[in-house]
Symmetry: C2
Subunit: 459 residues, 2 copies
Amino acid sequence: MRAELPTAELESRLSFGSAILRGADCEVYRSDWSSVAGEIPVLSILPASVEDVVAVVRWAVRHAIPLVPSGGRTGLSGGATPRSCDVVVSLERMRRILAVDAEQRTMTVEAGVATQVVQDAAAAHGLLYPVDFASRGSSQIGGNIATNAGGIRVLKYGLTRDWVAGLKMVTGSGELLELNRGLIKNASGYDLRHLVVGSEGTLGIVVEATLKLAAAPPPQQVLLLALPAMSMVMQAYARLRRTLSLSAFEFFTQAALEHVVAAGARAPFASPSPCYVLAEFDHDEAAMSAAFEELAASGVVTDAVLAKNNAEASGLWRLREGITESLSHRKPYKNDVSVRPGQIPSFMLRMDKLFGAEYPGFEVIWFGHVGDGNLHISIIPPAGYPREAFLAQCDRVTHMLGGVLQDFGGSISAEHGIGLLKRPYLRYTRPSAEVELMRQMKHVFDPKGIMNPGKLFPP
Amino acid sequence: MRAELPTAELESRLSFGSAILRGADCEVYRSDWSSVAGEIPVLSILPASVEDVVAVVRWAVRHAIPLVPSGGRTGLSGGATPRSCDVVVSLERMRRILAVDAEQRTMTVEAGVATQVVQDAAAAHGLLYPVDFASRGSSQIGGNIATNAGGIRVLKYGLTRDWVAGLKMVTGSGELLELNRGLIKNASGYDLRHLVVGSEGTLGIVVEATLKLAAAPPPQQVLLLALPAMSMVMQAYARLRRTLSLSAFEFFTQAALEHVVAAGARAPFASPSPCYVLAEFDHDEAAMSAAFEELAASGVVTDAVLAKNNAEASGLWRLREGITESLSHRKPYKNDVSVRPGQIPSFMLRMDKLFGAEYPGFEVIWFGHVGDGNLHISIIPPAGYPREAFLAQCDRVTHMLGGVLQDFGGSISAEHGIGLLKRPYLRYTRPSAEVELMRQMKHVFDPKGIMNPGKLFPP
């Protein structure tokens, strides 16, 4: 097939600065941060403008060429991994900040701008782009929108969806849509913007976005708490939330901490505890002290470290944000699930029982954003354990986990998306009637089925 | 047709407490708060349960009966007004509060619960349901969701969309969907919940919702400012916003005030000013005084009244909230438009020029939520002016206004919805490609075309 792609026709339509890559140059588009071993795509196209993207999609429509939209390639579900017959469309050359309106607190950017670049540009105007996560340096706004990225400050600021005032996207028909155009109020029919957010590149390619910005927050404090039991996490959450304005409430276990420390971080406490909570909140010394003393007196918290400056705050954050990276060489199997936050304690008990029974000998590492009802679980096999058998066992247990989630009305993908990896489990979260509606809606946007085929929908 | 509807078949499927109304009992469902003169529907069905609604829709599918979902009937675009061949489905008997979770700050309600009932139930738990508008006593949550209702505190709290954590709806196929189930994070494919919010009953019937609640706000202050010119409104906004945490910033003109005063309200100032701003914000005496003094010194504000207690605050709010009611006996023609907030000054100039040229002799009354970029305009003809000629002129000018909005990338309906009244102007806000996608999406949810036919889409 490679020789047959009519690229000459396309080249003449692309603008200066765009590129078409072949062969070894496409190797980088093979995989993402997930465990999916994609294939080298037949071509990778790097458009330099919105018009380029329109030209690429129309060319693909004419020749029935499957396209895989690509952002910072930090996805954890394989949503941007190609097959060898796919053409990757990478937004990496569309990385201009088009406008910042400090008065109205908006920023308009091309889809390939990195999250951190947006954050820094907002900060330069005394404002905040509050969607944040460990992959901020590589992840791109287009990809964030395609997956409705969440992260560490959802508790206070919500998801990417909540910060998209408008977006431009090219549908699978090659139609350029300019959705909502930054309006706050617009009651003029279906809000297609919100359908595109979280659609994982299956409806079209996001090319530009107008983002809302927040006022810079007051000074923050970062507190690390040691807890004697996982079952006490939500008690700590309820108490802190009562008198502090929390922007983050992150949970991890001693097992997770050990991996981060092994990777070079400094242990925060002299002796281990079963689990930890990292809380970030508006500076309030009195409320913080009172909450800590109450939690300590009731035995919910056994130890604590309060960051005294930004460097110490970063050090504490590294303990939480470094978990994924510290585990990556062990190639863990990952779950990313959610329930309603109030269900977290009973859900954790159910999961703990399930994993205890089904993963004997495997290391089960818990962490996550429990204030949002979101738990990440990484499963690590003993050294030398056969990979296939490990994955088969994890697949089997994830189906059981799916059943538990169905009981709780939870989600098999809280924030990583369905991509390729979670497709077999989608049915535990979305009933067949919803999936069928989704399929038909994809067909409306992408009648030729060229947009990220094979992703999101169960085969 | 009336005699032919096979209601016996339906009656046997409806639960105790439901009702089917005919003839004069249907008169109340003929109109809403808009100027649309609907027809008396052939039947009105008042289901008492979710299962009843499913039964009604499936019955309607079998017999190809057009359904008009009906909430509190406070709509201003005719979105719930029936034709004589329609069957109204009123949610008024489904008005139970099903659950309040004060710890997790959520409330689950049936669709027929009035906005104010939700607000009061939240307040009883020390919490806030922040979506608010003058029709709070009659409007229902289901209707709020169907129109993505906005109102007076969008500035701080956003729209109805932002407070819907989950919803149950019955599609035009009679399928019951339970969308998002109250999850904070759920990256499992297209978020159909957000497609339903604002769909004006054209995709199905919202039957239940899980709403988010906010923490009760700190004490509020209400300040009424007199301004020497409309052109200074955004200067006042920028200055107040710089140091105060605004929850509302409402604008109205002297003409609007005169109608409210004529309807019985007390005039706030001894002498008139061209326009006024009502601002509500977190109590902060020092910041408020400093802002006022600065605005007074620079001539942006010429007078002010600060409410000294709740009764006075209500009195000031009445000046703004009473406008619509004070005008209703004059049967005004209404525009409800939006642009990006930063464009408000130049947009107002364009509109003022347009209206000055095209409405000589008509009274043009401006008010609205300018912090959200949302202006309401009510046009009143001289006494005795022929109704048909008046409406024809307003229609002609609204097409011109549509052209201006198209230039600005604004919306022909900021928060009232398209319904029946705004359909001819939808094209100024949504290009034909988007309307075509919307039509196809409606077809996916409602293949028989029985859900609120004739609404939202241009004929």
